[in-house]
């Protein structure tokens, strides 16, 4: 394509990306570096149904003047990035110096919101992603070998978890695993422990969240792999059969190598998605056991007092996290590109 043609071809997309992707990122980075100006506090007499009381409030006029002088707020640079709510550098350093074993150090880390969230997020990402790829592939192979009359129906039911809104899907599972729900009761019957509750135990809650994650994302992997299976060269398969390859050997040596690029694609998308895990934590009311970076952002914005600076900082850290997670693949793509030119 000529450079000029390419330019006009790409212009609309480029503009949309600038407005909807680049500009918000710039805005979030700005918000993470500027904090609200220091409040001017005054003692005032406040009255209501329960009588009068002298209380501290914000002096609106004085604060408005300060705000006018600094419309962006007070410049904090990277201060928020390193405070206790985020990377907590001084707390981590102290934990490092005072703890005597690795176990004690990690226990101290788990007490800090950012590292607690990262611990769950990474576990979730790296357990869910391979398992959902395996499950999606298994479903695809199974559906592919069905009689053609059955295929449509089975495909529809296999896609259901992806069709259901994530929040609704997680709520349904949440009620089922309630200690009075059908799955919760069944599990406590199996374990022969009437007090067993999935929602009261951190390991079981993590397991439930991961099971939900696999359940809701496996259909995506299934759809992609099923499409890939339609393109597997029949000649190669046939010759493998003539050579006496078992069914497993055909899959292992013909099908899997053929759809490997799709596996990379699904892995990339799912790594990104799972790193931003959010809906199941809200749906399962799991915040006592598991938090994620996205949940921290939600919590900072949803309190009685909105913490925009803190939320913006966590957002930037999430972007950096995704970038680090994807860097091996990005580096490889770059090398391929360099190699080609």
């Amino acid at each position: 394509m000529k450079h000029k043609t390419f330019f006009w071809f790409f212009l609309p997309t480029g503009l949309a990306m600038l407005v909807f992707i680049a500009a918000p990122i710039v805005s979030v980075v700005m918000q993470s570096m500027f904090l609200p100006i220091e409040a001017v506090l005054v003692e005032t007499e406040n009255c209501g149904p329960f009588g009068c009381k002298t209380e501290t409030t914000i002096d609106q006029e004085a604060t408005a003047k300060l705000r006018e002088a600094n419309p962006l707020g007070r410049f904090a640079g990277l201060e928020v990035y390193f405070d206790r709510g985020h990377l907590a550098t001084s707390e981590v350093a102290e934990a490092w110096n005072t703890s005597e074993s690795w176990g004690a150090f990690f226990a101290e880390l788990r007490d800090l919101p950012f590292y607690r969230a990262i611990a769950f997020t990474l576990t979730y990402t790296f357990v869910c992603t391979p398992l959902l790829i395996a499950l999606g592939f298994a479903i695809a192979v199974a559906v592919n070998s069905l009689h053609r009359h059955l295929k449509g129906l089975v495909i529809f039911f296999s896609l259901l978890p992806m069709i259901v809104t994530p929040l609704v899907g997680s709520l349904i599972l949440f009620w089922m695993i309630d200690s009075r729900g059908i799955l919760g009761n069944f599990i406590s019957f199996l374990a022969n422990d009437p007090d067993l509750s999935l929602k009261a135990s951190t390991p079981l809650m993590w397991t439930s969240l991961i099971v939900y994650g696999i359940w809701s994302s496996a259909p995506f992997a299934f759809v992609v792999f099923y499409a890939g299976l339609q393109t597997v060269p029949q000649d190669t398969l046939e010759s493998a059969q003539i050579d006496g390859a078992t069914r497993w050997q055909q899959i292992r040596y013909v099908t899997i190598p053929h759809i490997m690029p799709l596996v990379t694609f699904v892995a990339l998308i799912q790594l990104m998605d799972n790193f931003r895990v959010f809906e199941p934590i809200v749906g399962f009311n799991a915040e006592a056991h598991a938090t994620s970076l996205s949940w921290i952002i939600f919590n900072d914005l949803g309190g009685e007092t909105r913490q925009l600076g803190a939320a913006a900082t966590t957002s930037v850290l999430t972007i950096l996290g995704v970038a680090i997670l994807l860097s091996p693949v990005l580096v490889r793509t770059w090398r391929d590109f360099r190699g080609r030119t």
Binding site: A286, E287, G303, E304
Partner: protein
Amino acid sequence: MIKKLLLASVLALATSATAHAACDISSGRVSVVGNEFPAIQTVGKGAMACAGDGVEVKTNLTADHQKINLAGMQGNPAEYTSAIIANSSIVALMNEDVIRPLDDLVAKYGGSLKKNQLITINGKVMAVAFMANAQHLVYRADVLEKIGVEPPKTYEDMLAAAKMIREKGILQNPVGGAYKAGWNLAQEFNNMFLGYGGSHFKDGSAMPNVNSEAGVKALNMMKALSEYMNPDFLTHDSNATNAEYRAGNVALMNMWGSRAATMTDADGVPQEVIDGFKIAGPMTVGGGSTAASTLWWDGWTVAKNISDADAEATFKAMMNGIDPAMLKDAEVAKQAVWLIDGYEPTAAATGVFAAAQMNTIPYPMLPYMGLMHTALGAELADFMQGKESAEQALADVEAAYTAAAKENGYL
């Protein structure tokens, strides 16, 4: 007979005509955001009744109101012309300066308001309160009768009664409580902490003061109570706890007055739960005389970033929402402890009235209290699960609060 009927219908017509005239709005836009419990639904309906030619009235009543009200009032013109708030959530609106003083509107159109309905801050009316609220005891009289004890007046008595109920095999987890990690758990801590005589901040400053003897005692009492709760207690908010009560699984519970009145009104509640349902005042703890609870008011505000005409329309519509005439409906009268003129306390109000008489402390209206509440909600769950000591949990709360308060310019 016919004359009487005619007279009655003429009277009815006249009252409906005055009800309509009470709105007296010619044009304007009214958009209300607020919480979703029954009393607020009633107020919203009253405001909606003013909709008509050239008058647009919308309500958005949701449990997530405080996540959206500030953002919805910061634009110019603001999306929401009125937010229904409580003494905790007005602070966020005051901090960002998005609500307007109401003195002139009160003088013109607020004739039916009582003085104690006016929330004045530094001499300016910033909100109009319409109901009072508090958390207090609700219990199953039939269950307590079976074990032969009086309704508990202290949390220590509550624990003792819970122990007896479990030992007699009546209920496995007789205590209920909205202990969901986050806002609810923090609120239960606030109650208990104030009951033990604690105060959240060092005198007159924004410095945290929860890592104290009162804080540790409060947490230990909450832990002791949780032993008698459904093991899923950290996921139970007010709605889930009420469901447990309605199902007959709970006999003793600290619950909001605004939800107590309609507690047994749902479908399928067993008869013994309906018959045994009783309301009492809040409990004290640790031999203290202050109730382990907080007093609340709910009221409405008018946005700053709207035209004066819309503000006037909003004020009038909201005045219609809290029209004293609505208290004639017995169903409405029992929904809340109304602060509206002409309210006669119903049986459902005993809990909140007892709270007011016991000099319960109102929820602190401080600019940085919201940050403290968020920090408590996030950091106390570890202690409740037995993962760390009370001292460690409270130290974490103070550290989390301090970081947030520094970010927001209070420290």
